[in-house]
Amino acid sequence: MASVAATTIPFAAFAAGSLHSSMGSLEQAATQRLVRAEVVHVVLSLLLAATLISTVTVVAGSVGGAVEAIRNLALYAGLALVSGRLFGRSLSWILPIADFVIVDFWGVDGAHPHWWAWQFQVYDNGWSWIAAGAVLAAGLAALTLPPRIFGLTITRFSSSTSTA
């Protein structure tokens, strides 16, 4: 179901982007307590997003599509969290949209999606779930690791963020 391959992007970008704060650069140096709160925040907003989009998809008549939506949400949320770490949380949308552009253009060979076009796979494709889980785990790791270890934030982007 190709439509949930695109419509889940805003949900994931909003969920990850809602971590944005005007004190972002200060918060990067905060204690583990804030990190835990942020993880809870992301998990809860993703649960909310998953509930919303899967409910709508089920109402629209596609139970399989709803399951795929949850998987795609996990995939894009992972990318959005990594993107937020790289470019600043306000720019969480960059990697999910870039991923979609690339996979939409190259991911389908004739009628069948390539194995790596995870968001185009049918809901019962096991590998796509493993991949989505791995990407989400990478995103959560990017969120929780201290900036010293994963300090790749490109400050040119985020400097204008923190002054707002």
């Binding site: 720019l91 690339i102 982007f157 204008s160 707002a164």
Partner: protein
């Protein structure tokens, strides 16, 4: 002004995106298919298509650039400036547009360079290139407008993606074509209305005040009618684009199509001249079958060269994504002439069509030179491809006998055959 533009170009966050956009453009041009090389309209359309995809990222970048005023907290100050709004915003918008066009040009130049040797005299079709430039401008303007209107950091890029990718669902307002087959051209009225809509959106992107200013400073600017007028103009602009008709329209057939000297002749559109030799060789493989078992037409035409009212024009060949689609059409043209006209009783219909399908599959493989013509798991239903491959390896006379056997079987199964 020029000085400000230079500063904007130097400071634009899009300069970080530019290498990515260029890489994406070139990868999309060459990384999926290369059959468009050497056919001017196809190459032009291929150079245009990446603009649609990188436009989503470009628009998001333009939105981020335009949203700078909100992030820096200067929304109010800008609204109270002495300079008219458009003069302040023009360099910002222009810098985003310049980055978009810089990403577009290398693909166009390379499409020309790689196509020139095969395609012969001519140039990329400006209509497709303009369409791509139009889409880039539209992406930047939508992004600029969205980034300015909403103070949110998340709504603008999503709005851009919805506006640009939403075109996939709404064909009448599409700003892109997937390919440029020679039988079609961009309709001038469709292109002009799209260009006008782009200008309109650009004017809005430069002049409309942000929502926040409208909300907080209503005492200073009576802006409510401006937004109403803008929405009405946008709606009528979209309606004009829809009423201007489809983006691609049929081209009139060329007065002098390109034809081979062999017999039977092969005629193609002049733009498709790089395929003439290949298709000629396909027809030669059919001619080479001994004993005149096949009945070939005098001329094989490409689709669109003959008037559609000619009875046989329906089976004129089409070149879809390269010459691999051609054997299918050649084979059906030959089968239609070769297979006798029979009455087929209902109980033997399946048997009859099975024989025709076998012959058809054989002819496709023969025409193309190998079984790749049928594609993976392709070919007519119920035909054993392995058997066809065995036949193709028989000596020429053996193959002719096999065809004769098929035709005899067809005559036996059908009733009252003639021809």
């Amino acid at each position: 002004m020029r000085h400000v533009l230079r500063i904007e170009l130097r400071r634009s966050p899009l300069r970080w995106l530019l290498p990515l956009l260029i890489a994406l453009d070139l990868a999309m041009l060459f990384g999926r298919s290369t059959w468009w090389i050497g056919v001017w309209p196809e190459a032009s359309a291929a150079a245009q298509l990446p603009a649609f995809f990188f436009g989503i990222l470009l628009g998001g970048g333009a939105a981020w650039t335009a949203g700078r005023v909100h992030r820096a907290g200067t929304t109010e100050q800008l609204a109270a400036a002495m300079q008219p709004r458009w003069r302040i915003e023009l360099p910002v918008w222009l810098s985003s547009l310049i980055f978009g066009l810089i990403a577009y040009v290398p693909g166009v130049a390379l499409a020309f360079i790689v196509s020139a040797p095969d395609a012969g005299p001519g140039f990329l079709w400006p209509s497709y290139l303009l369409l791509g430039a139009c889409l880039i401008t539209l992406s930047v303007s939508i992004g600029h407008l969205a980034g300015k209107l909403w103070q949110s950091r998340f709504i603008p890029p999503i709005a851009v993606a919805v506006c640009l990718f939403g075109q996939v669902m709404v064909p009448p307002i599409r700003f892109y074509v997937l390919s440029g087959h020679v039988q079609a051209e961009v309709s001038p009225s469709a292109l002009i209305t799209r260009f006008t809509l782009t200008l309109l959106l650009t004017a809005m992107a430069l002049t409309l005040p942000p929502r926040q200013v409208v909300r907080d400073a209503g005492w200073r600017l009576n802006t409510a009618p401006i937004r109403g007028i803008a929405a009405a103009m946008l709606f009528s602009g979209l309606a004009t684009v829809v009423t201007a008709g489809p983006l691609l329209v049929a081209r009139p057939a060329p007065a002098d199509p390109l034809c081979s000297d062999e017999s039977p002749r092969v005629c193609v559109w002049p733009e498709n001249r790089k395929y003439l030799g290949t298709i000629d060789a396909m027809v030669a493989r059919l001619v080479a079958l001994p004993n005149g078992v096949l009945k070939l037409p005098d001329t094989f035409y490409e689709r669109g060269l003959r008037d559609a009212s000619v009875p046989e024009a329906g089976s004129d060949f089409q070149i879809l994504a390269g010459p691999v689609s051609v054997p299918f059409f050649l084979s059906s043209a030959v089968t239609a002439r070769t297979v006798p006209d029979c009455e087929v009783p209902q109980d033997v219909e399946q048997q009859f069509s099975h024989e025709v399908f076998r012959l058809d599959a054989y002819l496709q493989v023969r025409t193309f030179g190998n079984a790749a013509a049928l594609g993976e798991g392709g070919g007519p239903p119920g035909v054993d491809i392995k058997e066809i491959v065995q036949v193709i390896h028989l000596p020429e006379s053996g193959q002719a006998d096999w065809i004769k056997d098929r035709l005899t079987a067809i005559r036996q199964i059908g009733a009252n055959c003639h021809g």
